[in-house]
Symmetry: C2
Subunit: 345 residues, 2 copies
């Protein structure tokens, strides 16, 4: 029978070890000013009584917090899995524990998760904002007195620590690569134009095309949900046009994988008939057939940098605001290997 025994407290430990509560408190906090023998006695009592330190009570009294909230938009996206691994690896060294929240890219969910986390006294928040954050949300984030760092996507008008990638550069090297392969009609598929991550890619896409004197054709720029399904649906639109592109630059790998599947469904072979480039370099991109040319964004590194930033910010609210922009790298694979000069008149 499991009897509902009440919690063993530090008081109990102190009594059992024959020391004062203050001394016991010092010991559980790892103070070095305590005589070795006393420490041993207390540690023995802790073990004997099965004492579990109540970090919540401790945090409350000392007005501190050992929790960090991590808010992402999509847990099914392997980019975020990697991101979370990076966050986790870095945070565990510091003794923090993480609350996880998933917004599914919805402003309302993000709002609720923020509230819940604040009510639980998180010491800091790592936020990957939803694409279309409302004005109210932005106002709210501004006023927050909890340390916050933004990751992956940036919110306009918000002075705040940030870690992200140079999406513009990433998009541009992708587009340049496609142009070098002979493509001049290059589609941009996926994502939501409300997010900074989209706008920056769009900028890079434009830069790349303009430098080669290619005009932007908005009819082959298609937004979509950031999922495989999103990519599949979008590519069907593209294929049904009178003058389909010869290459597709995708918002990310998830979309690209969907695009390639959509091409196959339409009996178009990705990598041969149409070149495809992704973004993120998720594990799967190298294992898919054809393997996917993509932009490595170092998701895990972004996560660990975000964790570092929030940790620093929690230690010192007044330090200078940091912006870390990682430089992406193109990873060339089979989905874009063919030159297609012959298709151009």
């Amino acid at each position: 029978m499991k009897t509902k025994r009440s919690r063993v407290t530090l008081q109990d430990v102190a009594k059992h070890a024959g020391v004062s509560r203050s001394t016991a408190s010092l010991i559980v906090r790892g103070s070095s000013t305590i005589a070795v023998n006393t420490r041993r006695k207390v540690l023995a009592s802790i073990r004997e009584l099965g004492y579990v330190y109540d970090r919540v009570a401790a945090n409350m009294r000392s007005q501190s917090s050992s929790t960090v909230g991590v808010i992402i938009t999509d847990i099914a996206n392997p980019f975020f899995s990697e991101f979370l691994v990076g966050v986790h690896r870095t945070l565990e060294e510091t003794g923090y524990i993480e609350f996880l929240g998933t917004t599914f890219d919805l402003d309302t969910k993000q709002d609720r998760i923020l509230s819940t986390m604040l009510e639980h006294r998180v010491g800091g928040i790592i936020l990957c904002p939803v694409s279309n954050s409302s004005a109210e949300t932005i106002e709210r984030l501004k006023k927050l007195d909890v340390p916050i760092v933004h990751a992956v996507r940036e919110l306009p008008k918000l002075q705040c620590d940030y870690v992200g990638i140079d999406y513009t550069a990433g998009a541009q090297i992708s587009v340049n690569h496609l142009i070098q392969k002979g493509h001049r009609r290059i589609s941009f598929i996926g994502g939501s134009s409300g997010s900074s991550a989209w706008k920056e890619r769009m900028q890079g896409y434009e830069n790349g095309l303009k430098k080669s004197g290619i005009e932007i054709d908005e009819s082959i720029i298609i937004e979509s949900p950031v999922t495989r399904e999103g990519g599949m649906v979008a590519v069907h639109h593209i294929l049904s046009q009178q003058n389909p592109p010869t290459a597709i630059f995708c918002y990310n790998d998830l979309v690209a994988l969907g695009v390639m599947q959509g091409l196959r469904d339409a009996k178009v072979t990705p990598g041969e008939d149409i070149a495809v480039v992704g973004f993120d370099n998720v594990q799967e991109s190298s294992l898919y057939t054809p393997s996917l040319t993509t932009v490595n964004v170092f998701a895990r590194l972004i996560g660990s940098q975000a964790a570092n930033l929030i940790h620093q910010r929690m230690l010192d609210q007044d330090r200078d605001i940091q912006r870390i922009i990682l430089q992406p790298e193109l990873v060339t694979r089979r989905s874009s290997e063919n030159y297609i000069r012959e298709k151009i008149l």
Copy 2:
């Protein structure tokens, strides 16, 4: 300038609204015994002062908890992503918030995460145990006075709520399917024999073979890490044998995807030269080429059932122990479509 203002308390709200702290407390907890006008006044003050309810303090006083710890073994496995979505969707309705811990299938990490969660006063834990839990860990879990439900994998000798799939049945229908396709030499690749999830699959694998009078050949049963890489490495071993199998039953989809890649690397075409079957039915399995025959285990449903169980258990520690075993379903795709009678003498 962000000034470090101290937290607005319920006391402040009460004073501002001209009511007592008790009344304010009743209102934030949604009591219905309060006059409408009083409530309105207080809610207005809350908004005006920017009061944030301190659920941690409330939980502490009332000896309750609104947090649930979720411990998984691998966040990069899409099975667990789906599982987490299920947990999350169900838990958010109840107002709980989740701590996430990832063990990377290591006993020591699991131990540390458990400690950290207990110190943070989680109200309950959903645990997907590591494969090779030590005796100490099992002893510890037994003594835990926090409600716990196990999911996905079961620990021996532990009376505890559990949600899982009938892995034995899943393995058996897979093997039967392969036998019907004409295979008699079927390999089993991946996983760790220390886990219940492996043992049960092994049981199903054996059952399937025995019923068709096929002898077990241990040389084509290969354990591996539960990753793509694990599958890739293992399949190389298999191929280098004098008498390689004609079909491979994989521990899960992640392993199967690695196996298929390993086959390709060796110029063997999965689905044509060798049949491959996975387990889990992760999204990717339908999008890969060839699409992967697999066993649908309803990961999201497992997650939401686990969330239900922990919720029930937190409400009533003394209710009967529940074991929910979901029945898996075979999803037939191209990786196993070919009959291969001709290859058998």
